[in-house]
Assembly symmetry: C2
């Protein structure tokens, strides 16, 4: 029986399934620090996400799917930088040592860790406060890329084309399904597709590696297209014109929502973890060929413009649109999970 | 006014005070990843701690002191590995955007970051669950040390001497003072010294760098001497004989507690963040000279023995002692802060 933090770490986390060796790792779980040696000429890319029950995931979320999602959403930040995953650390605050939860959660983490050859190398485990007994997860992923390379938000130039991978709005629609916000008429297949989009976003690591030498800027869509593309525009000091008619919408999303709601979820919903990137028109064909080879769908949605405005267009005409992403500490109708919770 | 996460990061965290540049940093706060380039021949040491209100710190703890402590307790893991601090990341879940709290907390962090030339390079900020509205902090520190070096827990050998820096038990006694568990008769000076020991543990970074080439094993005392020395013994497959009469106890601790309670806090109290290390007798003088030069008190408390037992001695005679450190997920009289909270 798992009786304290050391037992739990040993049983569920310091196993060959999830804490397997990689050549860059000098020392893994079990000492005061992990030791990591990037290969000569390589630099590390690092990103941290903190996820809390009731904010970033639904209470009583399936622990296996939650484990997969926890690592996948972090790997998405490496994809957006064009980095190859190396390893990750995990901080866990849990209200109780629930062995079923721990087993399923670590199995989900291990699945993604194996798929990306990205082992767990350390972290911290703690009982959460007896007063505020929710789960909090903190993951930091570490990737590598050559010194001097890296896809930043700041490189978009006027005339660059704007693209997104995959389809938009599915994860937010999946969250609504999970939260039982209507949609009883939806088919089992479509419900499953939307829920999967929330829990198991497609990994865009290979796409990021390919885009590293082609794109001028890139971001992963965690807060929604409007918000995240806005980060590229601010960092690059440019504007954009986006054709709403071109936004890639899945069959499941179309089945689940009205036209207006599809659009709302696609631009403000968040949690898709697709890549939004810009590149010079001369690189479009090379990019399409490359992404086609690895089976990643890509859609051109607009163009980078002078100024600082994000201009939405419909049938070629500019339209005004209230669109914003999820913002912590700001009450908002877009903050879907808080509505749902 | 700070109105959302991006404003808060910009105002309180992405400032020259705390997010200042270092040569190893390729890219800091504001993109999908931070980029870090260790110098040639160097490896990274990394350690993560997750801290929750009501478990690791008292609700309504002074935010300036909490900021200092949050970074100091993480730097202690670098000290125990013999690594030089490089930079840190921070994950924050907060119930509200309290500007006074944010300002004081980031000021405390910045103070320690500056002292150790260890800037903030990224992280994540989130509103905590409206249902479970406590603060959760997650810090990962990154240090560097030459490839092939590093103080591990596993190197202690039979005949090595056991040492600790500083004094033991003060932080746990400080936590009791903070929790108003008696001690009304204690002088202001002694109360202050104990509270400081909890909130602002001495940095042992310089000591760790010096010990890197002298000690055979090292750990920082976060859970208490009994528990943490136990990690060295298990990792090294050795035992130890510890002389209770030699444990370094401060004037403030002696003033605050009975002999039995002093001893209890010194071996089971935790949170001291002093270093416990072993070395060959032939290196004792070099170590004492080195630590003396940088003003770090050190005390020899015992010797590494054959077997796997941690044997306590008093006036030279073995005695039986119930001693354990803080263990999450295990109810225990040693779990002081939960008693207090």
């Amino acid at each position: 029986m798992a009786s304290d933090e050391f037992d739990i770490i040993s049983r569920f986390f310091n196993s060959g399934e999830i804490a397997f060796p990689i050549p860059e790792l000098g020392l893994g779980i079990g000492d005061d620090c992990a030791l990591l040696r990037p290969a000569p000429g390589m630099q590390l890319a690092m990103s941290m996400d903190i996820l809390q029950e009731g904010v970033h995931f639904i209470p009583d979320a399936d622990p296996y799917l939650l484990g997969k999602r926890t690592l996948l959403v972090n790997l998405s930040d490496l994809a957006a930088m064009g980095a190859r995953p190396l390893c990750f650390t995990l901080g866990l605050c849990l209200p109780a040592a629930d062995e079923n939860w721990l087993g399923e959660f670590s199995k989900g983490l291990a699945q993604v860790a194996r798929e990306h050859n990205c082992p767990l190398i350390g972290g911290d485990l703690s009982a959460s406060s007896p007063v505020h007994g929710s789960k909090t997860l903190c993951v930091q992923v570490h990737g590598e890329l050559p010194v001097g390379s890296g896809l930043r938000r700041s490189g978009a130039r006027v005339g660059d084309l704007v693209f997104v991978t995959g389809s938009l709005g599915d994860a937010a629609a999946g969250l609504q399904v999970l939260s039982n916000l209507g949609k009883e008429s939806l088919s089992v297949e479509h419900r499953g597709a939307l829920i999967d989009a929330f829990f198991v976003p497609e990994s865009r690591i290979e796409a990021g590696l390919l885009l590293r030498d082609l794109a001028t800027s890139c971001i992963d869509l965690s807060d929604g297209l409007a918000s995240d593309l806005g980060h590229i525009l601010r960092a690059s000091a440019v504007g954009a014109s986006i054709d709403l008619d071109t936004l890639p919408l899945s069959v499941a999303l179309r089945a689940a929502h009205s036209d207006a709601q599809q659009r709302h979820l696609a631009i403000s919903g968040g949690d898709d973890y697709e890549l939004c990137f810009t590149l010079s028109p001369e690189n479009e064909q090379a990019m399409r060929t490359g992404l086609g080879t690895i089976g990643v769908p890509v859609t051109r949605i607009g163009v980078i413009t002078q100024g600082t405005q994000l201009q939405w267009r419909e049938l070629g005409e500019p339209i005004a649109l209230e669109a914003s992403g999820y913002k912590h500490f700001r009450a908002s109708a877009e903050n879907l999970i808080q509505e749902a919770g």
